[in-house]
């Protein structure tokens, strides 16, 4: 099963679920905002999405991941809007029979997410200015 959610508020993590009978491995990745971006101190990132397309691309990617790897379920939440330093911007959970397939699926899913899902970061600098993340070291 796949669950995809893009939300503009602090992420609620998927709750603990002890009812799974055939999932020996549960792998969770949380991407958090670091206090430095390209060497500059920041107070937050602001994530911008291409509304509609971002969710569609994320769902399609999750489907591809579930076909490519023998995993059972993939749940993913991505936050948009302002995310303060330390907070979670990406929450992914993968359930599989064994560990290695979950690890491989997680790796691939996030690499691909960072290639194709139309979401971008704006750095909120300590002086309050707001610039596309890639420009911050220019």
């Amino acid at each position: 099963m796949i669950k995809i959610d893009i939300v503009d508020r602090p992420l609620e993590f998927f709750p603990n679920d002890d009812s799974r009978l055939q999932d020996g491995a549960e792998l969770i990745f949380n991407g958090r905002v670091r206090a430095t971006e390209h060497g500059d101190s920041i107070t937050a990132l602001e994530y911008e999405q291409y509304e509609g397309m971002a969710e569609n691309e994320l769902f399609q990617l999750a489907e591809e991941t579930c076909k490519k790897f023998p995993i059972h379920d993939l749940f993913c939440k991505h936050r948009v809007g302002r995310v303060n330093v330390g907070e979670t911007s990406l929450h992914v959970a993968i359930w599989s029979k064994h560990r290695q397939e979950g690890i491989d699926a997680m790796s691939w899913f996030i690499v691909e997410l960072k290639k194709r899902v139309p979401i971008w970061k704006w750095a909120i600098m300590e002086d309050g200015s707001r610039i596309p993340s890639e420009c911050s070291h220019g």
Partner: protein
């Protein structure tokens, strides 16, 4: 003439200082021709920035002819996660 709605994100938004552009173009204008216009409009601010093109919220693999009412986005390198 065809009416095209252009969505601007990240560095494209920053360079053009707008979220959205509405342009009227000649019939038969292609996605690559529109990209050229956008790069010119940015006065060099998009130089060196690679962009993929999405038409109606799907990446397109090749240059295509645009149609009246199309939504086009020039997608700079994405940064999710």
């Amino acid at each position: 003439m065809i009416k095209i709605n252009i969505k601007c994100f990240s560095q494209v938004k920053y360079a053009l200082d707008t979220d959205e552009l509405r342009l009227e173009l000649k019939n038969g204008t292609t996605s690559v021709e529109l990209e050229k216009m956008i790069r010119e409009k940015s006065k060099g601010k998009l130089d060196g920035i690679s962009m993929r093109i999405a038409v109606n919220q799907k990446y397109i693999p090749n240059d295509i002819k645009l149609h009246d009412g199309d939504e086009v986005a020039f997608i700079p390198p994405v940064q999710g996660g």
